[in-house]
Amino acid sequence: MGKEFFILMKPELSIMLIIFFLLFLKIWDGIKEKSSLLSIVNLLLLLNFVIGFLFNKEGSLFSGMYHTNGIIAFEKNVLAFGTLLISLMAWDWLKKHEHMLEFYILLLSTLLGMNYMISSGNFMMLYLGLELSTIPLAALANFDLDKLKSSEAALKMILSSAFASCILLFGISMLYGTTGSLSFSEISMHMDGGMLQMLAFIFVFIGFAFKLSVVPFHFWTADVYEGSPIAVTSYLSVISKGAIVFVFVTTLLNLFSNMGTSWYHLLVISIVLTISIGNLFAMRQENIKRFLAFSSITQVGYILIGLSNGGSSGSAASIYFLIVYIFSNLAAFGIISMVSIQTEKENISDYNGFYKNNPISGWVMALAMFSLAGIPPTAGFFGKMFLVTAGASKGNYLLVAFASLNMVISLFYYLRVVKAIFINKNESPMETIKTSFPIKLALGVCMLGIVATGFYSGIYDYIVSILK
């Protein structure tokens, strides 16, 4: 306890403080003006993000249940930053929403859960973090209270995730039964490679694969993405996925490496299924949120390629890609939310001729798509390249071939959106979308990220350095 406690748990503590502060605000009900409330919240988030950079230390607490180090702190910062961006982008939506504070409380609880998850040293904390980051999210998915789709999305999410966590739990219980411990480090010591353990590992993997929406555990993704409010969708697609990836990078990879080569094969099968199914479904989507859902499934496949590397270069590539992915996907969602709030339009065909009245937004969207597709000079190119490069290190060039050929397919549907924006003719193109400053700010940051992250090698170098 003492000073070290505060320093090590700083991200969680600051989030908790914000939550309590918001609760207080809610109860006090002193500030009626929504935009000032929003400003306060966003400022707090910014503060939270900034604090994340200060006084980082390595260490563990609570007899190894909680541990942190440079890379974990960095990951938490990435999540905090993403949350801040999402919060900025949700400005217009939240301004109209009557449960704005509750939204933030739930959102921050999930963030808290993710932080615990990343920092967890045993399965108990991991599971708790997972649930903490899932259950409130299901509630959040229902936050478009008057929309049917939103409730449906929430239902699908809570049922599926409950089922998935049951599988996960069963796996954990078996692991516990066979190794006698919940702590990651001790589990590794008691491995015997038996079949039951293998089963347990597979169950645990599937529990997380579900959250990552790895095929065939992805079915909830599209429906939930489509139905949820856009802020929640974007949160789901970047932050909660990112958190799971981070968990993989920091803890689970070590754990699963106990499975030996099966782990690699398991990943390869998942990669192949995920990328191809994601691509095939994304090709035919009409709703742009659904489309992004499947595209994000594909992206997950690519991240798994990086993870399959198993070494630090793969982890670095995955983290790097995630940062890029946050920028790109959030830029896309930012535009979508702008459009959807003003016009209620969410179909790709609605974007026909979009460029005519919204040139800047058009370019932003196009850049986001290019980045997602991995086209230079956007950062997405570098992200994908590094992932594939990392994936090739094991000499599995068939996998690389598969991945790079699928990039072509994915280019097809990303270009569909670009085509709609720039090329397709429309009798009545979308009118000029007006938006508020915070959203513009957030989009600007995303653009900067998309363009600069690739050319500026510092971020990647930093990740590599803290991974070592």
Partner: protein, 652 residues
């Protein structure tokens, strides 16, 4: 020593003219372009005459009594590998000097003539620039010191010929003829190119002198090239035959002659220059250039040359008898005469007495240039006057066009081989050469000579005698209908050429141009000449009998000959065969399937892969049914299959 820089000016002057007229002619130099072109060519012609004088009489023979080959100028243009490079150079030896003179002289005549003939043309300047381009290319060709240089200029004369044939580009027939000329010769050039590649590969050089030296001496190069064989024929033979195909294309040898008659769509002076005097003999020149290799190393190839030449001359002569378009008659006659030159080369050997055919061929080339140009220019004058190419529109023109008539007659006598006109001497030498080497060739040649006399005079009588036609100028909207016989610029060349056609035969060719550069002593044998002359005269008389007065005899004869006449009239259907070959086979059997294949199979495969992907995507869609329980089932199935897979099948 020769002034080599001066020689280099000869081709460069027309080139400069071409650039000047091509770039600025239309706007700024329209009226002066004729004069400009003529002047530049006048200078060039003077230089080449001077060069000829210097070469033959000032520099003269070397100690061995041989006219040496002089490389006056050489510049590496494109070096492939050491030793193998395309050089632009000027080679001076008897035949190149001779060609230099012929080309500049005829070209000068045509330039002068065109000032009258083409007057008032909208694209007068363009015409002259093309003409200059052609002259430049032709000069480059004849002076080439490198086999690839010849090829370069070979192509350039091809394209200038294309441009000039298609000069009246808004006339579809002209465009078609131009295309045909280019494509047919291009096809032949393909042979030439591959021939070059073969020869160059084995001799490791592109330079003529080195090439000839390496392939005639029994060097290692010679051994490899004769040792290498393809389909039982040695690489050398292949190379030479392929080169000859190139020459045959340009020289309109059977069966690559089809472009020549059509090429008459071009302005008549152009026909005179390109398709009578200069370009078409390029093939002969090419064989002559490589003659040592042909003669010393590869008699079989020379055999091919002989028989192709022989057949072409006979074939063309027969066809010429039936044509009614005067320019076409002349075109076939050109083909026939070039056939003479070719087989003359073919029957020749290298050096000494054996080399008679070579000398004769060159001699005939020279004289033929004169009288054939004269014939064309004369025909041009007639056409200019009558505004038609058809014999049936002509007749009795001897009164209205006296000078043309006289010069035309001279030319006809020359080509028929009546002494003392130029054609007599050269043709005599050819026949003598044929007689000495191959009797079959001789017989066919002499028959052809008779036919030649017949059809030339058929032409002559039809134009200038026969019944008088009323030349109707009323519907003529040209402004120069009062020109009578033509302007002075048109008549002067006729007269000059007429004089040449008379006098050229007296040039002692055997002293100047021989296969090995040494003097070849030829004795003139009057006894030998009697036969051919008689045959020629009888041909003339026959023509006179049939065509001097308008009558029905020709019809009777043609009816009597029936199918043969018809076939000859239709040029033995060679054109149709080609048309069939190109239209049906190339376009329909290769082109169309290729395009179809591309569009449907290759592209189809690529589109198919896209379609398949889309269809799979479509087929998979129902999996995402929107029902959460179904999702759970998939989920659970996934769990089970992963478990089973990794626990039982894919274990460590």
């Amino acid at each position: 020593m020769l002034h080599s820089k001066l020689i280099a000016l000869v081709p460069l002057l027309p080139f400069a003219t071409f650039l000047l007229l091509g770039l600025f002619g239309r706007k700024y130099l329209k009226n002066f372009s004729g004069i400009l072109g003529t002047l530049s060519l006048l200078v060039a012609a003077s230089i080449s005459f001077y060069a000829a004088y210097e070469y033959f009489f000032v520099v003269g023979k070397n100690a061995a009594g041989v006219y040496e080959q002089i490389i006056a100028f050489k510049f590496t243009w494109l070096e492939f590998s050491p030793g193998v490079s395309i050089d632009l150079g000027v080679i001076l030896d008897p035949i190149s000097i001779m060609m230099l003179v012929v080309v500049t002289f005829i070209s000068l005549m045509v330039h002068i003539y065109s000032m009258g003939y083409m007057k008032g043309e909208e694209r007068y300047a363009t015409y002259y620039s093309f003409l200059s381009l052609f002259t430049f290319s032709m000069l480059g060709l004849v002076m080439a010191s490198n086999i690839f240089q010849i090829y370069i200029f070979w192509e350039l004369v091809g394209v200038s010929s294309f441009l000039l044939i298609g000069f009246y580009y808004d006339k579809p027939s002209a465009v078609a003829a131009a295309k045909k000329a280019f494509i047919v010769t291009r096809f032949a050039d393909l042979g030439f190119l591959i021939g070059i590649l073969v020869l160059a590969f084995y001799s490791h050089t592109l330079d003529f002198q080195t090439l000839i030296e390496r392939l005639t001496n029994h060097s290692e190069y010679y051994t490899t090239i004769t040792a290498a064989s393809f389909m039982g024929v040695s690489a050398l033979t292949w190379g030479l035959v392929l080169v000859f195909i190139g020459g045959a294309g340009k020289s309109a040898m059977f069966p690559l002659h089809v472009w020549l008659p059509d090429a008459m769509e071009g302005p008549t002076p152009v026909s005179a220059l390109i398709h009578a005097a200069t370009m078409v003999v390029a093939g002969v020149y090419l064989v002559a250039r490589l003659f040592p290799v042909f003669a010393l190393s590869c008699p079989p190839a020379l055999q091919v040359v002989t028989y192709v030449g022989l057949f072409s001359s006979l074939f063309a002569a027969i066809v010429a008898c039936t044509q009614t378009d005067i320019k076409r008659v002349l075109a076939y006659s050109t083909m026939s005469q070039i056939g003479f030159m070719m087989f003359a080369l073919g029957v020749s050997g290298y050096g000494g007495e054996e080399g008679l055919g070579y000398m004769a061929s060159m001699f005939h080339l020279f004289t033929h240039a004169m009288f054939k140009a004269l014939l064309f220019l004369g025909a041009g004058a007639v056409i200019h006057y009558v505004h038609s190419n058809e014999m049936k529109d002509m007749g009795g023109l001897r009164k209205s066009m006296p000078i043309t008539h006289i010069t035309f007659l001279i030319a006809c006598l020359a080509i028929a081989g009546i002494p003392p006109f130029a054609g007599f001497f050269s043709k005599e030498e050819i026949l003598a050469a044929a007689f000495h080497s191959n009797k079959l060739v001789f017989v066919v040649a002499i028959i052809t000579a008779g036919i030649t006399a017949f059809y030339m005079f058929r032409l002559y009588f039809n134009i200038f005698w026969s019944k008088e036609k009323v030349i109707d100028h009323a519907h003529d909207d040209h402004s120069h209908d009062s020109h009578g016989e033509g302007t002075k610029t048109m008549l002067i060349p006729l007269i000059i050429l007429g004089l040449c056609a008379v006098g050229a035969g007296f040039i002692p060719f055997s002293h100047l141009v021989t296969s090995d550069g040494k003097v070849l002593e030829t004795e003139f044998n009057p006894m030998f000449s009697i036969g051919p002359v008689l045959i020629a005269v009888s041909g003339i008389l026959l023509a006179m009998f049939m065509y001097k007065k308008a009558n029905s005899k020709p019809d009777t004869v043609s009816k009597a000959l029936g199918g043969f006449y018809k076939a000859a009239y239709n040029k033995f259907y060679i054109d149709e065969i080609y048309l069939f070959k190109t239209k049906k086979i190339i376009f329909n059997l290769i082109g169309k399937p290729a395009a179809w294949f591309d569009k449907n199979i290759v592209d189809g495969c690529i589109n198919l892969s896209a379609t398949i992907t889309e269809n799979i995507a479509e087929a998979l869609r129902p999996i995402q049914s929107g029902k959460v329980q179904q999702y759970a089932i998939w989920f659970f199935v996934g769990v089970l299959s992963f478990s089973v897979l990794f626990i039982y099948f894919w274990t460590n």
